[in-house]
Symmetry: D3
Subunit: 281 residues, 6 copies
């Protein structure tokens, strides 16, 4: 997987380190560990999972001390087993101890997102359905969380309010009709911007098809309704199922033939994947 | 509960809005909704929970349009039932629609942390044990997540590497002994800084007591060992249990008599609490 | 026209004012004008043109003194004649004099972009061709310049490297073929991201059609070739002409039937539209 | 020419790259080009011109990948012919492709300013007149545009409101007289700050001389009036002609004997100088 | 006195408040004082002095709570007696208590600079000598400290490395001669930039006069030498004495007839002026 | 001494350099000194003192030019004599000359704080009293000034409002009693936060002891009262004397047996320690 450019995530890491260092820095390590002490260490998985965030964790340590050396043991997007070393580092002990928590917090979260995504992706295997994330991301972490979803085998929905049109019920209510809303949107945006419409009934879906949207978000529909929706669409646009889908229901949704299944939980409720730092001799 | 000052969380909100607005802003709403349109809306709970983040969500909308008016229906730190209105707002429709996702993302996360904390706090009710969070927080959200823990009835551990000393095994290894590590730390920090020692055996605990630490973090000990540890300490310092404690085991840990139980999951694995925005007439 | 949210352009204005105020502020005005002095003033057009940036200019003054009062005389997207008042303001004289240059610099540039765009739009009137801008924008001003293009009657191409795929010759060279490049891109991006291919021959165009791109950028083609290209495409995807098109050639390009004509000069070479500040009694 | 310190222009470059990378980065290049691919490339002039911004363009690429290697082929302040290589670079292909537009946007703009300045400088050759820029610069680019003017053979007027006094008609109106305005300014600023007075009549000029200003800005005067003004001044202070001077009129203005000719168009209306990136084997 | 625009000092105040609030804010006040509590308070002088920084102190409180009301009792630039109220405020008790230290730190420092400056100014009264500050200022506070010097009756030297030329011995050594150094500088800077030369002998002074500098900085000269220097200059340029001048020696230096006396201690060694906050009913 | 991490002080240095470079940079040096010129230089003490800020001064130069080489001649926390070299550097002349003032400003201030602290520490030698600083620090420099106090042999009080509770008279007035104030604070803060109470009478002291505070700040008490207070406390908590203590009175205060003596002047009134830059061949 292509990690985002450090230009994209450096501000977040700087914020996270500032938040942990505060005004006085790592007072425990600074008091006890000599600045000349050196260690070898490894970030180790304490659970099975899918890797994401190796370059991010590395950058945390590197910002603290550019003289540290790193070896990525598991690449982003690869699976790992409990006990495996994900990343090895070697250099000044202080930077290793001071950066530990910030690096693990980011890595554990991103591996958590990737691992949960993988579970959904595996649950729909054999269907053509693609698992996608939403804009229900953590403040400041959108780019990284969306990357973690890709590491987990999923794909990405909009990155923000500005890179695609998504027309919802409130927009339709204001515009007066699906046709009016779609028309207004098409008239305002450039030729490289797609228009998706959220519908909660097959009648609305029909209006959307007539209005010529690029994608339909089928919100909170039962599998039977979804199946009917997919048939009505007949490949004329992308279909996306959404709304309260979890690991127990996602296979049934995928079986309806929808192109995409979007799941907010990938980014807003992925449990942390347990990772630790082990310091060697 | 005392919400942190906006001076503390405004930079996070600004980051979150910038992340969602991107370069072109809310192209859907701007295309379809007139700038003169006004709405009344409410943030509604879709699950039972504990409130946290009302002022944060309010600030999101306020940054988009200072002319919006707000009414906090549920105060931070209060419980709510599914279906209840948490926050009401009224004003320009565009700001409401544009801010919706950013506000809900923050609110749902903070309510999630508060609600999970509440569950742990209820599980230890009747014991004197206090539930505390750790530094396993989300990059950029530490102040808010620690506040959410307080909203949930928990208490806070260190806010960073700089406001208390926490001596761990690697520090002891470098220093040569518990006594040496504690001595070095005490010598380096001010009189208002407490020193906590992480121990994984009763022998180490003894050394810590001799060295005169303010608190002992009893790491990954079974309830029987914890009970013995608490008796050995005999009130001479604060005792804190830590390590892999969950809702099924926390009561047994609390029954050992430890003063504090620290739980990383409060902040790193709290599932989002489902909240939505409903727009009225 | 919908002006972008101040959240999007405030950082630019803050930078511009800081750049002009330096360390000591407006030493001329502060020395000569009493803080209690008040004026009425108007931004006046010294040439005919198309309005863009009214809210931006207003915000400059407002940042200097929130007590100023404004009246937008000409709305963004409207035409104006030389001598017309574009914006009226009233309040503390110091803020008016201090903000004058920064406000006029931004307004004159944005009106310049809108006015040049209008000229291209008028030159293709009667054809279906849409005039679009490029990423050849001024560092830090992309959102505003793209907005000014819309004020001028044009439409926007990509806002950045991340909101649409644009495959160029170097990408094809690396990938080995158009098909390989398009396939790699489609596989990596989400369902709401369109894929455009830059081609410089009809053979490449054919490959692009087979690969199923959303849009074809026809680079540096003569009108005859463009006409042939448009016929070959036959409506199967969007066609865009690009490369060295100016006001003398744009009509001929538009007559070929292409959907879009992209012109870097709209943003990188629009001359400033002369605007001045007149202070009344 | 001495390029400004990167400490001065790095924030602008960071802004420009962030603006282009957005949240997801260069999705086209990341999808198609392997991270191990390397290229040699050159920035090539597509028109004759004067160089400015070599270090700025270099820094764009360097921020994306510090392992790139550069060779400046044309120094800032030197002339170049169409087709000439301005800058050569070699290293990871991704950074080259991703940085291309941001680097060219800055370089083309700065070369445009330098080249337009050169034209004015050549037009006044043989007179003693110096061509200077104004504060009519692009928001955020003042330091670089003023540097580009120097690269073009021009000189700089004030960098901001705070490094020299420039008294205009509104200041005089408020102060009551030229003498009062000059006196107030002199009394308020330090001994290293010069005072310039804008005058639009020979009567005002006389008042300025009496008040002892360091420089007179002769606004919108015809050549004959300018000549008379220069004679009246008789070397007692610097004379500067200003107001609507273009390449067709500048020689006549210079012939009047004024010391300086200030031209807003140097920075606000310089057309982009066409530069491209060519990628070799 | 004209306080600098808040746009100039707001970033400093934001930094100072962030530094004091840290991650958790004012934990004492938040725990003890109800958010509804209101107070009237006054900043009171505990020593005689000269006022500077009223608007700065006000802004500290205002950032914490915009609903506070203020009354400036002593204007910047005015003298005050021990015990006098400098500023009165009324509103939410929390903001008053939380902002107290940050506001007093800034105000006490700026009054300290103004008061020390006043002492020097009084010591030279009756001579024509002007007391000026240097660039020996506190990191981040230059604009405010220079303003405080003006409040104290002094004047300002350069604000930075970029608004005037100051040629020192190392520059002369590199250039080869005073004439060469002055020539190089004049050739590089604009017409509104003055050139000052630091000399430590009368021979160098002679060279400076020949080279035509705007000002001479007479470094570390005894009064007799200064007097001779002033006579040699004979009004042909500004003369400035500098180097180790204190309150016991400044009158003798002023009596030599120099135009200016620059004193680093004004900004780098001014003791804090004791100010306190008194809270009423 | 452990210098704080550059992550903590880099923003301050960036601000300080930006403040000095302004928009045009070091115009004197850039005009006169070739970019290829190289020098060896040393920062030299012009007075006896205690070193602090070596890494900070180094970082100033390093930000201007990473190719400079440094040699720390005196370590932070060590004493030095007038005339001694504190830091040696070698490399491009421009960076040395341009960074000189910013580096010396920071170094002279930090050495000033350390040297003043040393004086107080020496004055109390032989007693057990520890000299501590307060929150009366310079805006933006708190972390560095507190570090300089440690370099001087002192210790640190709170770093901000958030890392310890300090209850003052206004808090007690609002709470109704010492007991209520202490109780409210204890109930609100975590287990690693200490509670200190400011008292101005022995009666209040008694209340504080009963309430179980961690430390007592004995404000503005005469030595006799302090001695009585220390006896009353009898080691049950930390005792700190505060209020108007100077070098003439500190020994008497220390002799009373208090644990700590806090002195605002360490940070708010330390005179600059004179340091200069000498450039060799």
């Amino acid at each position: 997987m292509n990690s985002p450019s450090p230009l994209i995530f450096d501000p977040l890491i700087r914020t996270a380190l500032a938040e942990d260092l505060g005004r006085a820095g790592d007072i425990t390590t600074d008091a006890i560990v000599l600045s000349s002490a050196r260690v070898a260490a490894a970030v180790v998985a304490r659970k099975d999972g899918r890797m994401s965030g190796g370059a991010v964790a590395t950058r945390v340590f590197e910002m603290l001390d550019p003289s540290l050396e790193f070896e990525a043991a598991i690449a982003d997007g690869d699976d790992f087993r409990e006990g495996v070393e994900l990343l090895r580092l070697r250099g000044p002990a202080r930077a290793v101890l001071t950066g530990e928590r910030t690096a693990l917090n980011l890595l554990g979260h991103l591996c958590g997102v990737a691992t949960l995504t993988r579970a959904f992706v595996e649950a729909v295997k054999g269907t053509g359905a693609v698992v996608v994330c939403t804009r229900k991301t953590t403040a400041g972490l959108r780019a990284l969380e969306k990357y973690a979803v890709r590491c987990g085998g999923g794909s990405n929905h909009r990155f923000g309010l500005d890179d695609a049109v998504l027309i919802k019920d409130n927009h339709i209510a204001v515009a007066g009709s699906v046709a009016a809303a779609v028309g207004a949107a098409r008239g305002a945006v450039g030729h490289l911007v797609k228009v998706e419409l959220e519908v909660d009934s097959l009648a609305q879906l029909e209006e959307g098809l007539v209005a010529g949207v690029d994608a339909l978000l089928l919100d909170n529909m039962e599998p039977d309704t979804l199946r009917e929706a997919v048939m009505m669409v007949g490949g004329r646009c992308i279909t996306e199922a959404s709304g309260g889908i979890d690991l127990t229901t996602v296979a049934a949704v995928a079986a309806t033939g929808v192109d995409l299944i979007s799941i907010g939980a990938l980014t807003h409720s992925a449990p942390w994947l347990d990772v630790g730092l082990e310091i060697g001799s």
